[in-house]
Amino acid sequence: MEQILYFDGLSSRAWPCKIDVRKVEILIQLDDTLEIICWKINDLISNELTGTTLTIKYGEYPHKTIEIIGESALLYYELISKNSFLGRSNVLWYRKKTPIIIGLIFLFFCLCVFSYWTLIPWLGEKATLLVPKDTEIKLGESIAENFKQTEEINKESSKLLNQLLDSLQIKESYPIKITVVNSPTVNAFALPGGQIFVYTGIIQKMKHYNELVALLSHEITHVTHQHSLKSLGRSAATSIFISGLFGDISGISAGILDQASQLKQLRYSRELETEADQHGVDFMLKYKVSPKGMVDLMQILDGESEGEDGFMNYLSTHPETKERINALKSDNQININFKENQSLKTIFSKIQQSINKP
């Protein structure tokens, strides 16, 4: 249905009309009264095309309006755009242009993949680095406080471990604080801002203080390189991106993509582990502790993951310990030896004793 209607802005009466678009004016002739109205093109408020509807607004509020519905809407739109200073406003400009639509879908797809895998996580990571150091430290402290309330803390060995760290006289940009948790779990982790938790399970498996220093140097790298904050930023940015893109009614697609995002996060966490291993070795060299301890530590972890299904190893939270061992061994620095540090040795045996106390 083709129709051109004039509205005077005062009442809702629709006046069917004919229009003649000229260089500087639009002439409107009302069908009912044959009255002719003249609009100066420079005084147009808008010339907007949406699909097959063209709305032309004129003058002060309440505006006078012309509505053109039908195929001729596009013709009038082009004609007026050519003569007026108004910017182009065609909401559905891609209409009936199949190659453009296919191109857009392809571009959209590429952009999504690129943003999802690279751009958004990178931005998320950069954004977290804007967090002031004080805030990061406080955040770590409050998470640590919550965690401590649910776990059994070994106060004596915590004190000894911090003493061991003091005797190395390390100078790091974060206040490192170690807490030992009574648990057979063979693991340790670092929170943002310097809080490190070590389980008694892993200390029990250690034979030499080198291994303990290796563990600490690995975790300290996580802290100084802000690994947990970066991971947090990456996953938060990814989920904001997904929910922004798909809106609310697609919880399921978002759910599927969330699984993909966890796999992606896992790959990233492996990169971080490898980074922590390498910098951990540098740390040990700096404080004159034989870096061989790092390899021995990996072997403890490897022993733990043995027995697990090979297939499941792919998704394990200890990413390919064997690969990490090989990477460490290929580094020549790993064979550098330092003479035994008696004070570290003493503290280490005290820690072992305190843990093995009934």
Binding site: L5, F7, D8, G9, L10, S11, S12, R13, A14, E48, T50, G51, T53, T55, K57, Y61, P62, H63, K64, T65, E67, I69, V91, L92, Y94, R95, I101, L104, I105, L107, F108, L111, C112, S115, L123, T135, K138, L139, E141, S142, E145, G244, L245, F246, G247, D248, I249, S250, I252, S253, A254, I256, L257
Partner: protein, 318 residues
């Protein structure tokens, strides 16, 4: 035999390809501009949706601009940003009292923003909507809506949520009676007790039927909103009703769900078009308004902050 003389005067013409294309384009621009294209994207989508909605052979027009929505977006971002900043600040303080204060202030802040969002959205969205050159408008007063909201939210809390049905009705009554479409007015005649019974029945039966009854519940909620709204033209009341069925809602939602899931969100535009079509084409008018005699009465209003706060709080009003 009784003939149905009610009129189906609302039509939705949305075309799936157009909206899918529009949304893809908007998303591309949102990604490239890191989200800052959002206001312009929103305006384009609204212009499209309004333009495809027809009442008595004339289309609706949305007059808002990206610039207006952008200004509102920045204000809304600041207000909500301050709330989040305060929460983060209290959380990192390590002081348990301050953490509790932070959580309480944060949640109260959100609750306090609801009337502002409601008021702002109605005021902006309606003022920027027209049909046949006549603008809609909202004459509600922010102080009054806060008064109604605070009294009702207090009663809702004291009755453990039971009073929420009466609260909804009170807000509906106030907002509907303040909507103007030129010289046309609206009124809401629903009763809190009826909404309460719909909700009670809805919740109990939905649980007992493992969710199957929820489609009837949706239907009843929509009917309550639509059938209790009346149009007043020259002191004559015109009734509206919804003919939506539970089966219709079931089909609409299930098919939409499958479309969105299997197209990984790309088909969301199709789902939105389907919702609009089913919703509008199931609204019937007892008789048509006198379309030629509506007079322009409302003033212009350009502040979109309330609309953007509503967008961020994730409450949809229109």
């Amino acid at each position: 035999m009784e003939y149905n003389t009610w009129k189906k005067s609302l039509k939705f013409h949305g075309n799936h390809g157009d909206l899918v294309g529009l949304r893809i384009l908007n998303n591309i621009l949102k990604i490239i501009t890191l989200g800052f294209y959002y206001p312009w994207a929103k305006v384009k989508e609204l212009k499209y949706m309004y333009n495809e909605t027809e009442y008595m052979n004339s289309r609706f027009v949305f007059h808002g601009t990206g610039k207006e929505v952008f200004k509102g977006f920045i204000k809304a971002l600041l207000i909500i940003g301050v709330l989040y900043a305060f929460l983060l600040f209290s959380y990192t303080s390590n002081n348990p009292t301050l953490i509790y204060v932070g959580i309480i202030v944060f949640n109260l802040g959100f609750f306090a923003l609801i009337p502002l969002a409601l008021h702002g959205t109605l005021k902006y969205r309606l003022s920027r909507t027209s049909w046949r050159g006549i603008h809609f408008g909202y004459r509600g007063n922010l102080k009054e809506i806060y008064g109604i909201y605070l009294k009702n939210i207090l009663l809702t809390i004291l009755t453990f949520g039971i009073y929420s049905s009466w609260m909804r009705v009170a807000l509906n009554k106030y907002t509907r009676s303040n909507i103007r479409f030129g010289s046309i007015q609206f009124t809401f005649v629903g009763k809190g007790v009826n909404l309460f019974l719909i909700n009670l029945k809805g919740i109990i039966f939905s649980i007992l039927t493992i969710g199957i009854y929820s489609f009837w519940y949706y239907k009843n909620r929509i009917m309550f909103e639509v059938n209790n709204t009346k149009i007043i033209q020259d002191s004559k009341e015109i009734n509206i009703r919804s003919t939506l069925t539970a089966g219709g809602i079931f089909k609409l939602l299930i098919v939409n769900y499958l479309i969105v899931v299997f197209t990984f969100g790309i088909g969301t535009g199709i789902a939105i078009n389907r919702i609009a079509r089913v919703l509008f084409q199931n609204i019937e008018f007892e008789e048509d308004i006198d379309a030629d005699s509506i007079l322009q009465t409302e003033e212009e209003y350009k502040d979109a902050s309330g609309d953007d706060i509503a967008g961020m709080l994730d409450i949809s009003i229109i």
